[in-house]
């Protein structure tokens, strides 16, 4: 039994810990054992925090013994290496921050600590969250646990792979254009990007501030709901963070979707989608009809423009956010005779190719003579994309789409062609531009055993609705969680 503890869901482990069937220390040890066994094959972690995790687990056991167990007491989680963790190296998968040890915790890390969570390690990612495959990491590629020749998706690929490979019970990611939902789909786990402003970003290394959002990965929708409850809520350190009360997401999981109107956008079922993906999505939609939901055809006419608008807005914001890496106060420094040269050389040596590409594109679209034609145009098209969703939600409660047109692609397949890589996010990126919540859940496997993801999009702050819909599908048992073969 003990050796299987790491395969549990958070809900199962919570109950088992409460009944004292096993200890938090045993649970954490099981995850660390699994990491030792499988991480050499998938490289989901940049830093494994064995010593700290065992200390946290021992502290959790003391609280459990005292009958004072908070929501996530003793639950081992993987943390994307984009979150500032006090005293634990935080690299953002960049040479720039290879030796950076934050003097403070991100707000969500502090909240998880308070809730008794155990931080098992810092998960691999695309450098500065820029990528769709976790190949842009200064610490090596993460491999998909379902097939190690395939990518796990990105940018939060290490977090998704760690959950899929049972190296932890849940994980934190971030999502700027699909960076939680795509890896969740490619690795066959649940992942939610909450509404923009639902969760604090204080202490989360910034990529594109009008789009970035924090969210969890988990083995089930229920577990994602449990994690989100602890993560969400007002934070005076993030001025964009909403003060709305946080509902008990778990209690929204009634299994009842009768009368729910599920919008199916015709623009998302187009040429280029793998037939097996389309079949799995259509089957999931049929399941919803059997559960009593109503399917409604809707239109999101500006879908095809979303990637172009995103790569203007996101890179412009990135070029400003990444200006702080100058080799003066922290991070890498390459010395020079004057500060200008020091900046230029430090940034040349510290950033990888994709990060440089996005800084360059963002700087260009903001530069004199191009601002109106590119940056302002991108912001206007963002308005049109938001408007599409506003109109669609007059006719439906949830929008259901594929997460991606394909299953996980081969490692190396898209690295030589940045634009093809960008197109991986075609079905997720509009959701960030509109600031909506989006949930990715497994809805099947292709013939090669690669997971397929269903995306459920809600109105702002309607996390409960999409979680309820996702959980209802999960309960049908149409898709059994398939352990990764490693």
């Amino acid at each position: 039994m003990t050796s299987e503890l790491n395969r549990m869901t958070i809900a199962e482990a919570r109950d088992g810990l409460a009944r004292r069937e096993f200890s938090a220390l045993e649970l954490t040890r099981a995850c660390l054992e699994q990491i030792k066994l499988v991480d050499p094959k998938i490289n989901a972690f940049i830093t494994v925090c064995a010593r700290e995790a065992l200390e946290q687990a021992a502290a959790a056991d003391r609280r459990l013994a005292a009958g004072d167990a908070p929501a996530l007491c003793g639950i081992p989680l993987a943390i994307k290496d984009i979150y500032a963790t006090r005293g634990v190296r935080t690299t953002c998968a960049s040479k720039m921050l290879e030796n950076f040890v934050p003097p403070f915790d991100a707000t969500v890390i502090a909240r998880l600590r308070e809730a008794g969570a155990v931080f098992i390690g810092k998960a691999n990612m695309d450098e500065f969250a820029m990528g769709s495959s976790t190949e842009n990491s200064a610490f090596g590629v993460t491999r998909n646990p379902h097939n190690v020749e395939r990518v796990p998706g990105g940018s939060s690929g290490g977090s998704a792979a760690a959950v899929a490979a049972d190296e932890c019970l849940g994980a934190l990611g971030t999502d700027t254009g699909g960076s939680i939902r795509l890896p969740a789909a490619f690795c066959g786990v649940a992942g939610i990007k909450p509404t923009y402003s639902r969760v604090s970003r204080y202490g989360v290394i910034a990529y594109a501030s009008s789009l970035d959002q924090v969210g969890p990965f988990a083995k089930t929708v229920r577990d994602a709901a449990i994690l989100l409850r602890t993560l969400a809520g007002h934070d005076p350190h993030d001025s964009t963070c909403s003060a709305r009360p946080v509902p008990d997401y778990e209690s929204a999981l009634t299994g009842d979707v009768r009368g729910m109107r599920i919008g199916v956008p015709k623009e998302y079922f187009v040429a280029g989608m793998e037939p097996q993906v389309e079949t799995a999505i259509r089957d999931a939609l049929a399941s919803y009809e059997r559960l009593g939901a109503k399917l409604v055809e809707i239109s999101l006419p500006h879908t095809e423009y979303a990637i172009a608008a995103y790569y203007i807005v996101a890179t412009a914001e990135a070029s400003a956010n990444l200006a702080r890496y100058d080799g003066i106060r922290y991070g890498l420094r390459v010395d020079a005779d004057n500060t200008g040269e020091l900046y230029n050389r430090t940034r040349a040596a510290g950033f990888g190719a994709e990060v440089k590409r996005r800084i360059m594109l963002g700087t260009f679209v903001l530069s004199a003579g191009y601002y109106d034609a590119y940056y302002l145009k991108g912001q206007k098209v963002r308005t049109l994309i938001r408007g599409d969703f506003d109109r669609a939600f007059e006719r439906c409660d949830v929008i259901a789409t594929p997460v991606a047109p394909t299953t996980a692609f081969k490692i190396g397949e898209k690295m030589a062609d940045p634009l093809q890589m960008y197109l991986s996010d075609i079905f997720t990126i509009s959701v960030n531009l509109a600031g909506l919540p989006g949930l990715s859940i497994p809805c099947g496997f292709d013939r090669d055993g690669l997971p397929i993801g269903l995306q459920l999009i809600g109105e702002p702050f309607a996390e409960e609705t999409i979680l309820r819909a996702g959980d209802a599908f999960e309960r049908t048992g149409a898709v059994k969680r398939r352990a990764a073969i490693l």
């Binding site: 030796n99 950076f100 040890v101 003097p103 403070f104 923009y196 402003s197 009008s210 005076p236 001025s239 964009t240 909403s242 003060a243 500006h302 095809e304 423009y305 990637i307 172009a308 608008a309 790569y311 200006a323 100058d326 080799g327 003066i328 106060r329 922290y330 991070g331 420094r333 010395d335 005779d337 004057n338 900046y343 230029n344 050389r345 940034r347 040349a348 440089k356 590409r357 800084i359 360059m360 594109l361 700087t363 260009f364 530069s367 191009y370 034609a373 590119y374 302002l376 991108g378 912001q379 206007k380 098209v381 963002r382 308005t383 049109l384 938001r386 940045p418 634009l419 531009l433 600031g435």
Partner: protein
């Protein structure tokens, strides 16, 4: 190949396969504080040209009457009292410094 650094929309002299000249790449790299090798410049010219060409599809949309969206969060930045909410420990702040002199960040000489 003729390159011109003109405002967009006046691309008459720019060939379709090169939306951005190597001189523009160098100019943008200076703005972005990035030292680029010749190989970097060539690769970025090709990549950025292709991406900008893709972005040009936005010009199919008439946005003359559309307001831009800069932020999708809830309206208004909250106000707070102007009081110090954290007291950073100088030693902790300096612990990550690549070079320091006592309690100062060390940089190359700026004034001769």
């Amino acid at each position: 190949m003729i390159n011109s650094i003109g405002p967009p929309g006046m691309r008459l002299s720019v060939m379709a396969d090169s939306k951005i000249s190597v001189e523009q790449v160098r100019h943008v790299a200076r703005l972005a504080r990035l030292e680029l090798s010749a190989a970097d410049e060539a690769a970025l010219q090709a990549n950025l040209s292709e991406i900008l060409q893709y972005i040009d599809q936005l010009n199919r949309l008439d946005t003359s009457a559309v307001a831009p969206t800069a932020q999708v969060g809830e309206a208004g930045a909250p106000m707070r009292e102007d009081v110090v909410a954290n007291r950073p420990d100088p030693e902790a702040m300096l612990a990550n410094a690549p070079a320091r002199a006592g309690h100062l960040f060390k940089v190359p000489r700026i004034i001769e």
